[in-house]
Point group: C2
């Protein structure tokens, strides 16, 4: 049984909640459980069962693909507040690729079980729409990564800029807005913002309002080579 806090947390993430009947609301809650995964543990790949939709309460998940010979490429990472939908890919028509999911850190998760998601999606088109809309967001994440891999240049340019600022001001706390950085790089604030989030997830910088702190200059330099 979910705690009332978890129920509140869950409802906040479900844009379709208002479209559910009372029995469906009840059914959804009864078929959502909490789960804990330790850092490094394996949640999903093509050989495991479809585990449904995951709502991250705490921690970070890594979603990646693997080649026949075991090469891995990270597609994106999800963190507290994010919804992991490709863990239910068996239910998504049109999605025919395999991904793997591991816990990068200890994770607390709300898991809407696969069978329940299937039933609710069949009964209620808004549930189905939610899974596909979330999938579209993940498509954007993958395209972003793909562009980085294929065209990589902006990550280098931003890293170079931050490192130069750091040297120039003799401090690794860079007091600039993302808008200012974007202007410096002839880019858009959204692009800078996304790249900084990426750097932050990789543990290279921390980002707060009007300030970016480089945590490890060497790592940032090496990362963007």
């Amino acid at each position: 049984m979910l705690s009332s806090d978890d129920v509140t947390r869950l409802i906040e993430r479900l844009p379709f909640w208002a479209h559910l009947s009372e029995p469906q609301k009840d059914y959804l809650q009864k078929n959502t459980n909490t789960a804990h995964f330790s850092a490094g543990s394996f949640l999903h790949n093509s050989e495991t069962d479809c585990i449904g939709i995951l709502f991250l309460k705490t921690g970070m998940l890594r979603i990646y693909i693997t080649s026949d010979v075991g090469k891995e490429v990270t597609l994106y990472r999800l963190e507290a507040g994010d919804v992991c939908v490709l863990s239910a890919s068996c239910l998504l028509q049109g999605i025919d690729f395999d991904i793997s999911i591991t816990a990068e850190t200890d994770c607390d998760i709300l898991q809407l079980q696969s069978a329940a998601l299937a039933r609710l999606s069949a009964e209620n088109v808004y549930v189905e729409l939610f899974t596909y809309k979330t999938t579209a967001e993940r498509f954007s994440d993958v395209m972003w990564t793909m562009k980085q891999i294929l065209f990589s240049s902006f990550d280098q340019r931003l890293a170079d800029f931050l490192l130069e600022e750091c040297t120039r001001n003799h401090t690794c706390e860079i007091r600039m807005t993302q808008e200012q950085i974007a202007r410096n790089l002839g880019s858009a604030r959204e692009v800078v913002s996304r790249m900084l989030r990426y750097f932050a997830k990789e543990g290279l910088v921390t980002v707060s309002r009007g300030e970016i702190t480089i945590l490890d200059a060497k790592k940032l330099r090496d990362f963007c080579k």
Copy 2:
């Protein structure tokens, strides 16, 4: 005004047709037009307007991304019978990347205009669901391409196999089922099938039941290097 043939063709591609009201059906038809694009012509990029959903009657579209310095990478190709949905990406929440679309060959298209799609999506959840489900299919296409680019090996292995068969039998008409080829390569029929479709779209082979014909052995060899 669409011809009755075009209306029939359109309805066949719209799984949500039965969910539309009569006025919505009428509105959809009135806001769908035919369009012709000559080989090489440009349909869409981030700087052009959102042109709505395209239903390909004949021809082939190429969907690709470009880098800041003009490098292009093809994401996928669409052909007669396919639905192009990223041409309406401005209406897709969660899709935040830019793509470009050109006509590879002369194309005849049914175009459901952007404003009409927006109105129908807002009025009818099944229309919205259709666009997101189609987007999920394109996500799969992109993942396939990404795996080819990152891990490329299967295209080479399949090309090598076909070329060896061709040499061995002194004919470029290879009489094997896709199932047999898959077994030879320790792969799955679906994987072989998808790669052969890709080769066919690139003009390297033709595929018919139980037979693959290599159109240009040198091109196939070079292509997969």
